[in-house]
């Protein structure tokens, strides 16, 4: 074997070194080129990238777990006509799916435009189908939407979420933060020594809300209210059903209403929930407050009497009965049944301004009810000491004129009488389910407004009123407590001569009430009195609810005792 010489050895070593150096230089140049101008087939390194993980909005259910509002992915389907090759086939396939005429789609696909929108806001199941075709030139752009499967049912209670994800009105707005959740993120970046790191913070999805609202009750209330408003050719109607003991709202309807899916309305006022956001003069329904206050203060009893001259002057203003008649010696029981304004003013003057308005305060007419719905307003009551309060207000306020309340405030006061004298905060959310944590919303008694004895006497008088005068609200087999109200509508030049706001408030069964109900019919054209316009609607709602909840009849035990004994 022949060994290389030293010269040969060094030459070889030199060439080897040269090759290694060349390779190194080539490699370095290549890596530099790769970093500066990455080839298209390689995904660039996600340096300093942050992807927002969208939190899904929580759903809203009724008390029985039926969906009322659900997050749903909607999508826009677009096409680039210059890229789509087989427009005929695409139009054939899209037409039945999008429920659009084939000719219209074909015209869009054959247009000269660079970009056409074939459909907007289609549901995910449709979009997914189109997505799965993987057709060139067709793009599916998904975005989070909100769908209300029952269309207009409870629309004014739920509110809505627009296409930008902004919540308006009702439960959607009030619980927006809770429903929205918190978005997560996926970050990638480089640490100080240049190493790639990757960090994921999961999104906290929104909580689900279970309402006290029962969709069956809501359906009944809406159906009856619609019939009452259209039947009376009225302008608007509001009805609320509440559990008097807990303040749980079982149904709350406004007519006319809207479909939160489309929100196609001419008048944005339809979005407003008039049960909490609009005032009205309650009229004679407010006599419940006046008489209950008198009973609680001990200045009257159901059997005590006063002499009705047909007119009483309070603060220099004469107050007359609605029938302009004098009723002579009258009991408080009959005052309430016949809805005599003079008697109500008699009680408020006996109480005195301080005591009367103290009771008005206790019943919560000067404050928000605190219901968990957005856009609630408080009542408008002038109190002694206010600049615009006049002594005559003591008389007119006693029968529900000269003050404005929300329907929910009025029903809250009626519920306080029904449950034995406790004012309870009305609420619409029963429980909040946030992941694995369930938070129950407990009933919240605010304060005692009248004694249980006064409340019992009041119930007895309201039952008497329904049994004797307000028979449009009576239900066979059940004792019903109730009171009608008719108020004139204030205008700039005094009260409107013809238009009225009619209402009926009450509860059933009277002696163990399951539901407190208020119906307000605004500006009816046919029947202009609460007893005839709102009374039948109250009865229909109460009767159907008693059947729905299988509430035992009041006369059933007696009948059985008689037959058994």
């Amino acid at each position: 074997m022949e060994f290389p010489t030293v010269e040969q050895y060094y030459r070889r070593m030199f060439f080897l070194g040269l090759i290694v150096a060349c390779l190194g230089v080539i490699g370095a140049v290549r890596v530099g080129h790769f970093l500066l101008d990455p080839p298209p087939w390689i995904t660039p390194l996600p340096a300093e990238e942050e992807v927002v993980l969208v939190a899904e909005r929580g759903n809203i259910y009724d008390c029985n777990g039926y969906l009322l509002s659900v997050s749903h992915t909607l999508a826009n389907i677009d096409a680039a006509p210059q890229i789509v090759t087989d427009t005929e086939t695409l139009a054939d396939r899209l037409a039945p799916l999008l429920r659009e005429p084939r000719e219209k789609l074909l015209a869009d696909l054959n247009s000269e435009a660079k970009h056409v929108r074939l459909a907007r806001g289609v549901r995910w199941e449709v979009a997914r189908e189109v997505f799965s075709w993987e057709m060139g030139g067709v793009t599916v752009e998904a975005w989070p939407g909100r769908v209300y499967p029952h269309d207009s049912l409870a629309a004014n209670v739920l509110g809505f979420v627009n296409d930008k994800g902004e919540a308006f009105y009702g439960v959607e707005e009030h619980y927006d933060e809770l429903l929205s959740g918190n978005p997560g993120s996926r970050k990638s970046g480089r640490d100080p020594i240049g190493s790639l790191f990757y960090q994921v913070e999961a999104a906290h999805h929104g909580a689900h809300l279970y309402l006290t609202l029962d969709r069956n009750v809501q359906h009944i209330v809406e159906e009856v209210l619609t019939a009452a408003v259209t039947g009376n050719e009225a302008m608007q109607g509001t009805a609320i059903v509440m559990e008097p003991q807990t303040g749980a709202i079982l149904g709350m309807a406004v007519f006319p209403t809207y479909d939160p899916n489309t929100r196609a309305v001419d008048d944005f006022g339809l979005f407003v929930n008039s049960a909490i956001s609009e005032h009205y003069e309650p009229g004679s329904v407010f006599k419940i407050v006046t008489v209950a206050s008198g009973l609680d203060a001990g200045i009257i009893s159901p059997a005590s009497t006063y002499y009705d001259h047909g007119e009483i002057v309070v603060g220099g203003e004469p107050i007359r009965n609605s029938d302009n008649q004098a009723h002579g010696e009258t009991t408080i029981r009959d005052l309430l049944a016949q809805s005599l304004n003079v008697g109500a003013a008699h009680i408020s003057t006996m109480l005195g301004a301080f005591n009367f308005y103290e009771y008005v305060r206790r019943f919560g007419f000067n404050e928000l009810t605190g219901v968990d719905l957005a856009e609630e307003v408080a009542g408008k009551v002038r109190f002694p000491g206010d600049r615009d309060w006049h002594e005559s207000d003591l008389g007119t306020n006693s029968f529900g004129q000269g003050l404005a309340v929300t329907p929910l405030q009025m029903l809250g006061a009626v519920s306080a009488v029904a449950n034995g004298g406790l004012l309870v905060r009305p609420h619409i959310v029963d429980r909040i389910v946030d992941g694995n944590i369930t938070t129950e919303v407990a009933p919240e008694p605010l304060r005692r407004v009248i004694s249980p004895e006064a409340a019992a006497q009041m119930t007895e008088m309201l039952v008497y009123a329904v049994d004797t005068v307000l028979s449009t609200a009576s239900i066979p087999g059940y004792k019903v407590a109730g009171k009608s109200g008719t108020s004139q509508i204030p205008t700039i030049a005094g009260y409107h001569p013809e238009e009225t706001i009619t209402s009926f408030a009450g509860y059933a069964p009277a002696y163990s009430p399951r539901f407190a109900i208020l119906v307000v019919i605004q500006r009816p054209s046919k029947e202009r009195w609460g007893i005839t316009a709102a009374g039948p609607a109250f009865r229909d709602i109460a009767e159907r609810l008693l059947k729905l909840y299988a509430v035992p009849r009041d006369d059933a035990p007696t009948a059985m005792r008689l037959s058994g004994g």
């Binding site: 070194g17 899904e56 759903n59 992915t73 029952h150 996926r186 990757y198 059985m560």
Partner: protein
């Protein structure tokens, strides 16, 4: 050849580079300290290559994981959307207006007149003045007579079983 070996030997000794001699007398050149820098450079290249290789490998695996997670996230999102779509479909099918429509299509109608009838029981529903639920069933009667000494004991046991402490005390007296 011998002259070349010598020359090599001479050069080697002159420059201080070691040249070992084989047993057979052949001269084998050995790496001298002058070769060192080249070697170190080569080792450095190897080391840098290794580091670059590890770095690229780690980066590739992270990028691959990112891609995989993105894909899984998309799948999860799609499944979630599918789930919501199904939920919505159920809710739509359960809607009262739809049920009403279907019921009417089946020929069902709403009751026009409801009449309540009195149900006559053979005996009073409740032992205490009729108070109690109307849905209570009548108490079953014993079909045989118990001996007089056993009756209070059975009554006491019955009252205890129904948590009626007062009745139990009375029965025990």
């Amino acid at each position: 050849m011998a002259g070349r070996r010598r020359a090599a030997s001479g050069n080697g000794s002159a420059s201080g580079r070691a040249i070992s001699r084989h047993d057979s007398g052949e001269v084998i050149p050995r790496l001298s300290p002058d070769v060192g820098p080249w070697l170190y450079l080569l080792a450095l290249f190897c080391l840098l290559g290794l580091v670059a290789f590890l770095y690229l490998r780690q980066t590739t695996s992270v990028v691959k994981l990112i891609e995989e997670m993105g894909y899984l996230e998309q799948q999860r999102r799609h499944l979630n959307w599918d789930n919501n779509a199904l939920r919505l479909q159920i809710a739509t099918r359960q809607s009262i207006s739809r049920l009403q429509q279907e019921a009417r299509a089946m020929g069902l109608g709403e009751a026009e007149h409801i009449e309540y009838v009195e149900v006559q029981w053979d005996e009073p529903v409740s032992p205490v003045d009729g108070a109690g639920s109307q849905h209570d069933l009548p108490t079953p009667r014993a079909t045989f007579a118990l001996p007089s000494w056993l009756r209070p004991l059975v009554q006491q046991f019955g009252a205890w079983a129904s948590q009626d402490v007062q009745a139990a005390e009375q029965a025990s007296r």
